[in-house]
């Protein structure tokens, strides 16, 4: 990765405004969250859905299309409500964690020992979130037959990957 030549300064390439509108700062710190929490792909609505890609509204729609029994559908809806609520709770915890982590990383005087509580907090959040979402995943699995499950998640996966 070559150093930036002095001649490019005249192009204004690196003289960015204080707000840096084109930088990645406006994005979520997904790398940070992945390496500290790890569970972004399992249960975060911020990553586009639960269990690797299906969003709760899409899952709900797929259940409506594939399940005619209203009582059974109501039970599934309750589980989906809990998945959505846990997703929101996880995203909020993740947001607070991200804020604290970036604040620590911006400090020049921070030591590794000072970052260790953050690392431990990330691991704890990771374990809790992983356990919760797997529990909910298998609760949902118990409420759907094998063919229903396939239809719901194959349809949801197709919807998630559609442009």
């Amino acid at each position: 990765m070559p150093a930036h030549p002095a001649s490019t300064r005249s192009l204004g390439v690196t003289r960015r405004s204080p707000t840096r509108p084109c930088s990645g700062r406006g994005q979520r710190g997904q790398t940070l969250i992945l390496i500290f929490l790890g569970t972004l792909l399992v249960g975060s609505t911020a990553a586009g859905g639960v269990f690797g890609g299906a969003s709760v509204p899409v899952l709900r729609e797929r259940v409506r299309e594939t399940m005619s029994d209203q009582a059974q559908r109501a039970r599934v809806d309750l589980t989906l409500d809990r998945i959505a609520a846990e997703g929101k709770r996880h995203d909020e915890e993740r947001r607070l964690f991200e804020k604290d982590a970036f604040a620590q990383l911006a400090r020049h005087d921070a030591t590794l020992a000072e970052l260790q509580p953050l690392v431990a907090r990330g691991d704890a959040l990771h374990r809790r979130s992983r356990d919760t979402f797997l529990e909910l995943r298998f609760e949902l699995r118990d409420q759907l037959g094998a063919e229903q499950w396939k239809k719901v998640f194959e349809g949801a996966a197709a919807a998630a990957s559609a442009p």
Binding site: M1, P2, A3, H4, P5, S7, T8, R9, L11, G12, V13, T14, R20, P21, C22, S23, G24, R25, Q27, R28, G29, Q30, T31, L32, L34, I35, F36, G38, L40, L41, V42, A47, G48, F51, G52, G53, A54, F102, L105, A106, H108, D109, A110, L112, L115, V119, H126, R130, L134, R137, F138, R141, L144, A146, W149, K150, F153, E154, A157
Partner: protein, 140 residues
Amino acid sequence: MAALLLAALVALGGCAGKSQPPRQKIARALQEMSWEVARQVGDPERAARLQQAIDGLDADLNELQGVSETLRSRLRALNANPDATRADFATLLDGFDADRRRLRDRVLQRHFEFLAATSANEWAALSGHERDALAAVTLR
């Protein structure tokens, strides 16, 4: 000449970076960090150490991107299987967790290499670029 061309492409790219693939975002964020090092750090020995750490972070983040893409695809496939067991999920997620911890330790190591090779003022100018690099991996 090549550097001028690259700089012009970056300038023309403007905010297009938001729609770039993750690996290009990582490269862009770390390229800007390299340029900032060239501007801020006059000591060639410290600048070289910083560049080495930037190159290491580049490799780590690209590895993380690859690991994440693989996990997402395997997780989606496993979840779609109605016969998947808790043990299947545990095996998959434990494997990812091992990669996550290894990469976390390396990223933290790079971070402290940055701190060790900079003054407080230099880090104030560079830390935003580290942050940009850490925000570059995307999963949608």
